[in-house]
């Protein structure tokens, strides 16, 4: 594991918007959007949409499942980072609302958050200083 860095200087680059289709995974969909647009590091600038069901991680390694459909994404923040192994990894956190409007929050688990109807996301490219 590499040395942890507290401060990373850089600048913002391009801005991409995507509509991601049903049954695609939220987290990996954002990673694939970066592949499509050639982004290597990015921040989420805005996002909304719905999930079939939501799955969020807990502090003790368990899974919080919220049953839909649909579970609405009402808040989302996060980033995509290029890893030392050359892979892309999105880390997304947010708040969702179940079909009765009750809200839950946490980190979205990759592979376990299928999109229900649509997911709209805007990413801003982050260009770390060399």
């Amino acid at each position: 594991m590499g040395e942890m860095i507290a401060v990373e200087n850089g600048s913002m680059g391009r801005v991409a918007y995507a509509r991601i289709a049903p049954n695609e995974d939220l987290v990996q969909g954002v990673e694939k959007l970066c592949l499509a647009e050639g982004f290597r590091n990015a921040f989420v600038r805005g996002a909304l949409g719905s999930l079939v069901d939501a799955c969020m991680g807990t502090i003790d390694g368990k899974y919080l499942q919220i049953q839909g459909p649909a579970v609405e994404i009402v808040s989302l923040a996060g980033e995509v980072r290029l890893g030392e192994d050359g892979s892309l990894r999105a880390a997304l956190t947010g708040v969702v609302a179940d079909p009765e409007g009750n809200v839950y929050g946490g980190p979205f688990v990759a592979g376990l958050n299928p999109i229900c109807m649509t997911f709209e996301v805007t990413l801003e490219e982050w260009l770390p200083a060399k």
Binding site: M12, R14, A18, G101, N102, P114, E120
Partner: protein, 184 residues
């Protein structure tokens, strides 16, 4: 089961939509540079008008916005249960009045509707008049800004535009990015 905490990896569900599966799963476009605006939603105007008009005045008709929290005199929102008519997988519920509401955090996408008029698609977490924290699809024309301006960070989507178009797979109209054609 509405909410459960488990040690077992849940199995994601693949739902069947009414229309033909579109092999293109990610529709994306990009601008070469981000352009940002700090906007204030002014007291007495609706969330819709407070976003659409000032941005149109500076030439922004497609944007992704973050509503950074504030009070509204009235908010109506919808949740998304299964469509009882079977036309789509889900359908928005009837509007739910939340009364005088604090919007904790919201994201709103600005684009054009099928008929070319401005369209705002907004989801938000709110604290309703009764004190409950709820979330859902916000009916932006019904949300009137209370006495204090509400800050919004706008990321303009230049070099392309968002337009609502009928999506055959889900059988509903959805915002999608298109190469810019004619301004206005």
């Amino acid at each position: 089961m509405k909410r459960v905490v488990t040690t077992q990896l849940p199995r994601p569900r693949t739902l069947i939509h009414p229309g033909r599966f579109n092999p293109v799963r990610i529709q994306s476009l990009h601008s070469s540079k981000g352009r940002h605006v700090r906007l204030a939603l002014l007291p007495g105007v609706s969330l819709f008008d407070g976003l659409v008009k000032p941005l149109a005045d500076i030439g922004i008709t497609s944007a992704s916005t973050t509503i950074l929290g504030g009070y509204f005199e009235g908010v109506q929102y919808c949740v998304a249960p299964p469509d009882q008519q079977g036309r789509a997988v889900i359908a928005y519920s009837k509007p739910i009045p939340a009364g005088r509401t604090y919007m904790i955090f919201g994201n709103a996408t600005l684009g054009k509707s099928i008929n070319g008029s401005p369209l705002v698609h907004c989801h938000a977490a709110i604290r309703t008049e009764t004190g409950e924290v709820k979330g859902g699809h916000i009916l932006t024309e019904t949300c009137i800004v209370s006495r204090d301006p509400i800050p919004v960070l706008v990321t303009s989507l230049d070099e392309f535009e968002l337009r609502q178009a009928y999506d055959p797979e889900t059988n509903i109209p959805l915002l999608q990015p298109y190469k810019e054609t004619i301004n206005g």
